[in-house]
Each structure stands twice: as structure tokens, then as C-alpha cells.
Homo-oligomer: 149 residues x 2
DNA sequence: TATTGTTATACTCTATAACTATA
DNA sequence: TATAGTTATAGAGTATAACAATA
């Protein structure tokens, strides 16, 4: 019970931060006219990706990615490109508009970051260092490193 | 563009942590035999609460709380108690079993905290200090302080 | 035989609106 | 007239299973 109470406070704070972050993500996505789901997909499409890989990144079933890709494609944000190496595979590739939207999404997430904006530059650097350390030591166990998975 | 790149990394790290945290929350809830939704409600019922208040805490509509309370009640985890001051209101109160489950939930969240477990005691204290500072300066704007809202 | 993506189906989470009983 | 909770309904998000094409 020596460390637990502090640990518990840390968890509460992190869950609060987590919630603020995801609320902000939803808000920003909404402002850009896409659902949070679509924004999450866009966010992870910095490089073209096979649908199977996007499913892995998003921790969902591949059948779900079909629907996501349909939505994104009908909005002109991605295209399905054949993979010359394996004709079963379709690569999802951002269109120009998709890239624009993705860039804007990231820009706003960075600019509007809730809670975070309350730290001084020094404090933010400290925080980043701590998180980096935690993730470097946090091996594959729990689904890997950071990102919008 | 001086600070943006670092900031962007911080955001990525936080989103990764956020995801690890919520995955862990779901896992722990599953191990205890409740859905993440029910666990989230239990988590916030440390004190009896009117259904309207739980809706506010969970950031959802009151109609949704009716369903949550139905599920929790049918599992013997909460009861609906009348409020003598206002006969429209029903207070949700944890049963003995509900309290036990809530305690166990919190214990496991603290013990199994992913990523966090990779920090030394000193680092965790530093992290807690930073988060506390951020939240203290982060006024009501974005739904208030920490918690499992 | 195994895998990629698709379709069909169903289940969970959540919001909106109409209702009731209070206030 | 406004609010607390309920009911009914509908829409996302997601999983499972069966299928087609390809490996």
C-alpha cells in the first residue's frame, strides 16, 4: 500500500488525459467533416497500406476495413490500388485530397492538444522524455508502440 | 515549426498510451465478467449518484443510463433507490457485490497498468507531477478533471 | 490448403424523440 | 412549463462466418 495510492492517482490522471485526448480527436475530425473512424484510418495512412495491414493497425477485423475503405473511397480520400506482387492484395493510397485532409488533421491535433497546452515547453519536454522511456522499455507485449491504433 | 515536431511526438506517444490504457481497461473488465461499459459505470459509482448525474459523468444521454442500470441491476451490482427529496430521481447505489467488483477493478487497473509499469518509482512521481500541473491549469473548458468519464 | 478482400448477418454502444410522473 | 427516468427506434461501430479469387 506504500506506492498504490500515488499510482492510483497517476492512473486517474492518465485516464482523464486519455479521455480529453479522444474527445479532442473526435471534435477535430468532426470539424473536418469526417467520422472519428475515418479520421483514425487517414491518420494511419501516411504510407500506402494493404487492407489487411490497416486492419492490424486499427486492431479490427479485415471485414471492417472494407466498409471504412468504401466510405473513404466514395469521399475521394483514398483509392484501392492493385499490388503487382500479390493480386489478392489491394493497397489503400491517399489521394491528393486525402493527403491534404490528413495533414490538416495532424496540424490541428498538434495545435489544439488539450491539457498539454497547459505545460511549459520545459515540462512538455520532460513529459515526452518520460513517455519515450516508458515505451522503449514497453516491448511488444501490448500491441506495440505509440500511434493512433 | 520550432516546437511542432516535438509536440507531434508527444501527441503520438500520448495517443499510444491512451490506446494501451483503454485496451487494458477492456481486458480487465472482461476478466471480471463485465462489459467495458458496465465497468466504466461501476468505476464512477464510488458514491451513489442520480442517473442524470451518471449520464453527465459518462458524457452520454440519460436514456442510455437506463439500459446500463438495467444491466447492472439484473446482475445484482447496483440498486435503484428513491430520492426522498425529489421523487422523480433514482439514486444508483452499489450493492455489496458491486462494491467488491469495483474495488477489484481498481486494484487490477493499478497493478496491471501497461507502459506505466516500465517507469521507475521516481519517473512515475515525475510523471504524476506533470499531469497534475497540467490538469490544475486546465480549467473547466474540456469537461473537467481526470477520471473515467 | 491458406490468405486477401467481400458480403451477409447480428450484436453492442449511443443518440433522438415521444412519453410518464413528478416538480 | 421544465426535469428525471423510460420506451421505442434508428444509426454507428464491430465481430463472425461463408464466399471468391489468388497464392
Amino acid at each position: 500500500m506504500t506506492r498504490s495510492n500515488g499510482r492510483q492517482e497517476t492512473i486517474d490522471l492518465l485516464m482523464g488525459l486519455s479521455h480529453a485526448l479522444s474527445t479532442n480527436f473526435n471534435t477535430v475530425a468532426g470539424e473536418l467533416g469526417v467520422s472519428a473512424l475515418h479520421a483514425r484510418a487517414l491518420f494511419n495512412l501516411d504510407q500506402p497500406a494493404a487492407m489487411r495491414d490497416l486492419a492490424a493497425t486499427l486492431h479490427c477485423d479485415k471485414s471492417h476495413v472494407t466498409g471504412i475503405a468504401d466510405g473513404l473511397e466514395s469521399r475521394g480520400l483514398v483509392t484501392r490500388e492493385p499490388d503487382p506482387r500479390d493480386r489478392r492484395v489491394k493497397q489503400l493510397v491517399l489521394t491528393t485530397e486525402g493527403r491534404r485532409l490528413r495533414t490538416e488533421l495532424r496540424r490541428r491535433l498538434v495545435d489544439d492538444a488539450p491539457v498539454l497546452s497547459r505545460l511549459t515547453a520545459d515540462e512538455e519536454t520532460q513529459l515526452r522524455g518520460l513517455l519515450r522511456a516508458a515505451f522503449e522499455r514497453h516491448t511488444e507485449e501490448n500491441g506495440g508502440g505509440p500511434g493512433c491504433g
